[in-house]
Symmetry: C2
Subunit: 161 residues, 2 copies
């Protein structure tokens, strides 16, 4: 442990973003556990709820920026809990269509009442919130570019803007 | 899918942060895959490298804001790959001490050469970077408070500031 590791200013900024996110993710997961959900489930429910087209596990994976096998396993567990149903697409036999169930809709409503972690944003001024909006918009676009250069084709359309 | 879900401004801000993070995490994981690492491994290596005291899986879990069983599994896999060693603590028999191996040190050095995702921060001006620093510092502290209120005791000491 003698020699320390030298990081660039950009690498330090990345580590800071990651750290903040891990704390928020942990806190939000604990908040969600009280209503029998976790963050991946809540994200999938939200995407299914707001989707304008039929959703497949592959599309969900792209939109969540997760590995396809991770999202397949997630969908499988969510189906077991009764939050979603899956059905083979009649037109395209190798497609599985994922839909919200009534229980999934209810879970989505419960999620929208969890405000503890979201309300930590109240510690920021209006000006800071605006700055954060612009900063995250730019970082989001820049990193989508990076993903494209890595030959991953993410949905071009931004998700939550 | 008829009725949409109403989110508060704070909830939308949280979703935005999550989305940006998922894109950055995915891009950084792809970057790390080229040097046979992933983000949890890189985080653990960094914490082990910079730790000022002996590390246990439990301490790592607290500092990474992850579930203890998640980090135990991570440490186990990293030991299999030869990145860390684990040894029972002689003073406290129920403690397992985790240390970096030479191979772990080398992986850490390789990680410090990955700059693609980190350098997306270059799209921000000096003023924006300063704003982001202050914003993330405040959000980090606020969310540590939330974790404490949820009776999780995170390390009070901030990690990467």
């Amino acid at each position: 442990m003698a020699e320390s590791i030298e990081l660039t200013e950009n690498q330090k900024a990345l580590m800071r973003m990651m750290t903040v996110f891990f704390v928020m993710e942990r806190a939000h997961n604990l908040e969600l556990a009280k209503i029998d959900l976790n963050l991946p489930q809540a994200s999938a429910l939200y995407l299914l709820k707001t989707a304008k087209e039929p959703m497949t596990p592959m599309k969900l994976a792209r939109m969540m920026h997760k590995e396809p096998h991770t999202v397949s396993a997630l969908v499988h567990r969510m189906e077991k809990y009764g939050l979603v149903t899956t059905k083979r697409d009649m037109q395209r036999k190798n497609w599985v269509r994922v839909s919200l169930t009534k229980k999934g809709e209810e879970a989505m409503k419960r999620w929208s009442t969890t405000t503890v972690v979201a309300d930590t944003f109240s510690c920021l001024s209006k000006k800071e919130l605006e700055a954060l909006y612009e900063i995250t918009r730019r970082l989001h676009n820049k990193n989508l570019q990076v993903l494209r250069q890595m030959r991953i084709s993410p949905y071009a359309e931004p998700l939550f803007w």
